[in-house]
C-alpha cells in the first residue's frame, strides 16, 4: 500500500541524506523561522500596545486583526505578488520568486496572529498588573516590555501558533516563490507538486518529515519554556 511505501520512502529519504531534500528542508526552516522572527518583532510590541492603548476605533482595529488571523494564504500570496510583480509598486526590488518574497508573504500571514493573540494574553496580564505598575509610576509605554517579559510563558504558545501556521502554509509561498527546484521549493510546495505528479509515496514521505520537524520544534519550545518556568515561576 501507499501508506507502507510512504513510511519506507520517508525513512529512506531521511537516511539517504539526499542533498535535494536537505536543501528543501533547510529552505523551509529558513523561510518559516525568519517569517516568525519578523512577525514577533512587529507583532509582540504592537499586540501589547493595542492591549494598553485607548483610542477611538480601537474596537474596529481589534476586529480587523482578529479577522486577519483567518486571512487565506493564497490571498496573502496574491497581495505580495501584486506588490512585487514588475508592474507593482515594489517591482523595482526584483524580489518576486525569491525566498525573501516568501518570507514577506508568510510574515503578512502570521503577524496578525501574533498581534491578536498577544493582545489577548497582555489584556489578562494588564488587568492584574495595572494598578501596581501605575503606582510604581510606569507609563503605558514603559509597561510594554514589562508585560511582554512577564507574559513570556504564555507568549511561547502564541509564537508556536504563528510557527504552526507558517510551517503548514503552501498557498502563499507557492504564488510568490514559484516552487523553483533548488531555489524556492519548500516542503509544502514539494508535497503539492509530487501529489499532482502522482508520486503519492514521495509526497506522503515528505509529509511525514514535515510533521516530524513540526513536532521537534514544538517539543523543543515546550520543554525549554517548561524548564524556564520552573526556574522563574
Amino acid at each position: 500500500m501507499d501508506g507502507d511505501n510512504a513510511f519506507l520512502t520517508a525513512f529512506h529519504l531521511i537516511l539517504s541524506g539526499d542533498p535535494a531534500l536537505a536543501q528543501i528542508v533547510a529552505l523551509s526552516l529558513r523561510v518559516t523561522l525568519t517569517a516568525v522572527l519578523v512577525s514577533c518583532l512587529i507583532g509582540l510590541p504592537l499586540g501589547a500596545a493595542l492591549s494598553l492603548a485607548r483610542f477611538p476605533g480601537r474596537g474596529a482595529v481589534i476586529v480587523v486583526f482578529n479577522a486577519l488571523m483567518g486571512l487565506p494564504p493564497v490571498v496573502a500570496g496574491l497581495i505580495v505578488y501584486l506588490a512585487l510583480s514588475n508592474t507593482g509598486p515594489l517591482g523595482f526590488l526584483k524580489l518576486l520568486f525569491t525566498p525573501t518574497a516568501m518570507i514577506i508573504a508568510q510574515s503578512l500571514l502570521i503577524t496578525p496572529i501574533i498581534i491578536s493573540l498577544t493582545r489577548s494574553v497582555i489584556d489578562e496580564l494588564w488587568s492584574e498588573y495595572e494598578e501596581q505598575l501605575r503606582s510604581l509610576g510606569s507609563s503605558a509605554l514603559r509597561a510594554i516590555p514589562t508585560l511582554l517579559w512577564d507574559g513570556r510563558f504564555s507568549l511561547v504558545t502564541v509564537i508556536l501558533a504563528g510557527l504552526g501556521r507558517a510551517m503548514a502554509e503552501v498557498g502563499a509561498v507557492l504564488i510568490v516563490g514559484g516552487n523553483i527546484a533548488g531555489y524556492t521549493r519548500t516542503m509544502t510546495t514539494a508535497i503539492a507538486l509530487e501529489t499532482a505528479k502522482g508520486d503519492l509515496a514521495l509526497a506522503l514521505g515528505l509529509g511525514i518529515i514535515l510533521l516530524l520537524l513540526t513536532l521537534v520544534l514544538n517539543a523543543g519550545a515546550f520543554l525549554s519554556s517548561r524548564i524556564a518556568q520552573r526556574q522563574a515561576a
Binding site: 505598575l133 510604581l136 509610576g137 517579559w149 512577564d150 510563558f153 522563574a232 515561576a233
Partner: protein, 241 residues
Amino acid sequence: MHGTLSILPLEVADLRYAVRGKELLRGLGFKLLDGSRTVIMGPNGAGKSLTLRLCHGLLRPTGGRIDWSGPAGGNATKRHAMVFQRPVLLRRTARANLIHALSVSDVPRAEQAERAVAALAHFGLSALAERPARTLSGGEQQRLAIARAWALRPQVLFLDEPTSPLDPAATRAIEQMIQSIHDEGVKIVMTTHDLGQARRIADEVLFLHHGRLLEQAPADQFFSQPQTEEARAFVKGELLW
C-alpha cells in the same frame, strides 16, 4: 526625610467619588500632617481603600480637591508610594523586582542594583534576593512589596490592609517594617479593619462609614472617647454595616 522639602501636608476637601451614579465617597475633608501615623478605619465598604487610591492618584475623584500643599507639593507624584493588600510581584527574582521599580522611576541604571541590594539588606531580605518572587510565601511577598516601595524613597507611604491575608507571625514582621519606616521619618497612611493593629500603630485615626468621614482624632482619644454612635460600636467590636 530630613534635608528635603516636604510634599506634606495633604489637604483633602469635599472629596467625592461615584461609579455609575452610585456615590461611594460623599464629601470627605481632612488634613494629613507630617510625622504621625494615620490609620484609616471603618467597616468593609466604608471607602478606606478608595480614599487611599484617590490620594495616591490611581483614581480620579468625581469631585473635590486633593492638594499636596507642602513646599515640594507641586511635584508630589513620585514622592508617595503604595503597598497593596495583595501585592503584584513580577515574574522574576526578588532583586529584579526592585530593580524594575527603580528603573521605572528613572533611577540611573548605575545606582539601581546597589539600591536594590541595600533595600533587601535593610529589611533582612537578602537571602531571598535571587528567589523568583512568585514562589515566596504570602508574608515574604508582602515584605518584598514594602521593601520595593521603600526603595523608591517616598515621603509618604500608603498601605492598604497590608496584613489582612497574613498569619500573626507575618503580620508582626510587617508591623515592625512599618514601625522602622515611620522611625526614619516617612509619613505612614494605612487602612485596616483590625482594631488591635490600629491600636498598635495609629497616632491618629480617620474613621469612615458609608463613604463619610465621621471622625478624625488622635488615636488615644478615638479609642477611649469615640464621638459618634458608629465609632463607639466599632471600637467595642460590634458588627457595623
